[in-house]
């Protein structure tokens, strides 16, 4: 049972990932990525990490990917045209990645063959996670909050039009983009 579900979600994941590579239009790859994330949430549920799965759906699939879709829509990115500019990347990069992955896989095979994981092995109940998060990991939690703050400010400054006199609000970047779009809309 566990295996079937695992293979099901795993299959979707891999399909989505490969699709991301193959698709020529970014919107398609974005959606395939959303599919990958959703199926990953499924995988997390299989492992019992339900809170993580929920957050994965809400944060990753729900917020970040929407941002991506937003950007694609805003910039109406077209098809990818073939500009074979950097041979180095292909000739050097791809073999490098191949070698690295083969090596890592080989090492994993040799060393971790024995361990296995049960269905719902570790129930990631929100209560325990909260307990852990706000006690042991409080400092990282606070630091990440500051990180997010900085990211917001950075995004606002970067995305705002240089000559725009609009006072950069502390809005979510998404909202910022929307306002910016409206402004551009009015201009055109």
């Amino acid at each position: 049972m566990h295996l079937i579900l695992f293979l099901f979600f795993g299959g979707i994941c891999v399909a989505g990932a490969v699709n991301l590579l193959l698709q020529r239009h970014p919107i398609n790859s974005a959606l395939s990525l959303v599919v990958v994330m959703a199926s990953l949430a499924g995988e997390y549920l299989l492992l019992g990490a339900e809170f993580v799965a929920a957050i994965q759906v809400i944060v990753y699939a729900g917020a970040i990917m929407v941002l991506f879709i937003f950007t694609i829509m805003l910039l109406n990115a077209g098809e990818e045209e073939r500009t074979g500019k950097s041979r180095v990347a292909i000739m050097l990069g791809v073999p490098g990645v191949a070698i690295a992955s083969v090596l890592v896989a080989w090492v994993l095979l040799r060393h971790s063959g024995t361990g296995d994981v049960a269905l719902f092995a570790l129930p990631g109940v929100p209560h325990d996670i909260a307990q852990l998060l706000f006690h042991d990991f409080l400092l990282p939690f606070e630091i990440t909050s500051i990180l997010i703050l900085i990211a917001i400010m950075g995004a606002v400054v970067l995305a705002s039009k240089p000559e725009s006199i609009a006072k950069p609000s502390a809005a979510e970047p998404a909202e910022q983009e929307a306002r910016e779009l409206v402004a551009s809309g009015r201009e055109r």
Partner: protein
Amino acid sequence: MTPNPYLPIDSGPIADLWLIPVLPLAGAAINGMFGRRSSKTAITTIALVFPGVAFALALWLASGFSSASAPYVFDKSVHWIRAGNFQADFAFYLDQLSLVMLLVVTGVGFLIHIYSVGYMTEDDGYYRFMSYLNLFMFFMLTLVLAKNYLLMFIGWEGVGLASYLLIGFWFTKDSAAAAGKKAFIVNRIGDFGFLIALFLIIQHFHSLDFTAVFEQVAAKPTETAGVGVLTSIGLLLMVGAAGKSAQIPLYVWLPDAMEGPTPVSALIHAATMVTAGVYMVARSHIIFERAPGALTVVAVIGTLTALFAATIGIAQTDIKKVLAYSTVSQLGYMFMACGVAAFSAGIFHLMTHAFFKGLLFLAAGSVIHGVGGEQDMRKMGGLRKYMPWTFWTMTIATFAIAGIPPLAGFFSKDEILWMAYISPHGSRVFWLIGVITAFITSFYMFRLWFMTFFGEYRGGPATHDVTHQSADAHAMHDKHDQHGHGHGEPHESPWVMLGPLVVLAILSFVGGWVGIHRGFDRFLAPVFHSQEVAHGSLATADEEAAIAALEKQELILTGVSVAAGVLGLYLAWLLYYRRRDLPDKIAARLNGLYDAVVNKYYVDELYASLFVKPLVEGSSVILWKGVDQRMIDATVNNAAREARHVSDNVRHMQSGNLRSYAGWVAAGGAAVIGYMVWMGVR
């Protein structure tokens, strides 16, 4: 052990010896600092008063001195160096030997000062010249009166400096400057040997003070076999002496030193400085007596130099060059005397030589002065009529140096020859070479005499003989001797120059008599306790007959040397008076030898090619081009170029293309992972 009676004794009557050297120093300082602004008479008075007072003081000290009296000691020795167990002080010391030197230096020095007042009045660097002369007097006196080797060495260097300054007095003349440098460098080479000798003394005797060192040396046995400590010290001292007193290997600087004004040549290169080497050897006679090996080396060098320099003297045409080579050969005589352990004879000849060689130089100066700066004897002739005083004083000097009795030269030279003959350290060979040199000496001296004073005056008033061998020297000299030109007829020098000439003439006439009946020898006995003197004045008087035989033998040898002198006179008279054409014919016939002699056996050229050129070439080719450029600069420049090349190649990696960066990162990642896995697996 009872103190050896003949060692220098510290406890002598106290005398302010330090005054004697300090006075000329004061003179030099005053002239040096204020000379530029003060008037000529002021400079002259200072330049003469200070050495004169020093001379008077010396005379006063000499009056209270006799062979038996103990040496004066300046006990208020100022502490100078206190380093561990080694100490050296400013200590002065006057005994019979240094008294003689003192009198010679101050006496002859003072006369030359007077002479140079006349000679250098018109020169614009007059105050500078006078202060240098006083400075020289100061260093020479420190050298002579020093009580330890270190202070002597200071005098030694100072004298070298003074000679450099004075030779290169007319520094605008390149040849003068070059001669000054040459003198200084060759002296330094000699001083190098002297320094090492001092180091050896310090190492073995832990002190440089004469009394201390000589006590320890006296206690050591004479080194007969191999090169022991004393022999090596002796040899090294000899090297120093050879450097300073222009002996065989290091004599080349003296002939060139003639670039300086004539009074300088007289004072430094005849009377005083060059004799410093002889004085030093005499002073450290105890070391040499215990190192027979070193002694014979000294003798050999002395005789060889005497003969060698004399032969060169024959062919020289420049009057001062002839005198310079005669000085070298006379110094050779003195070293020969010291070499055969007849130190007192050496010092006696030193004194007489100072008189007649000083006179010869000063006379030559007045001759040059008279004919308007002309130094080439072939331009002179018949000056008898024009300069009677100079002629007569020069005659006395020439006869003295030739060793014609009753003049001074005969007594001292004969003493040396006799000592060379009979002294246990000497040998018949030295005596024979000595006689031959005596003959050559008298020949070239009378050649000079005849060429300068007899025949008709060959020098035209304004003619410039361009073909003359040392044309440049002549022309340059002309420029300096302002009043030379436009005089037409040669004239007699003023009295201020002739005065010293006359005094020196009297001295070189009378000087020799001091040596009759070993007078001089007995006077110096306390210093040299020369009981080995042939007559064995203190020896057991049993073999009256033996002494009588010795005296008879001595008379015979004296006769032989006088004959050699007369023969030289006759030959010079024949070639340069009767048959003036002969010399050129003879010269033509033995042209090879004649050219060699004229060119001073190409010794200068030899030294240049042996030492100077390789040094200069070596440093430029090997050090400059080889090491500096090809090694050091090259490495630096190459490193920079290589860095540029490498960075140029690497630059292409940063193509600005994001995906190539990713490619590189991936490749790097793979490499790292591969390495880690490989390490892990290994």
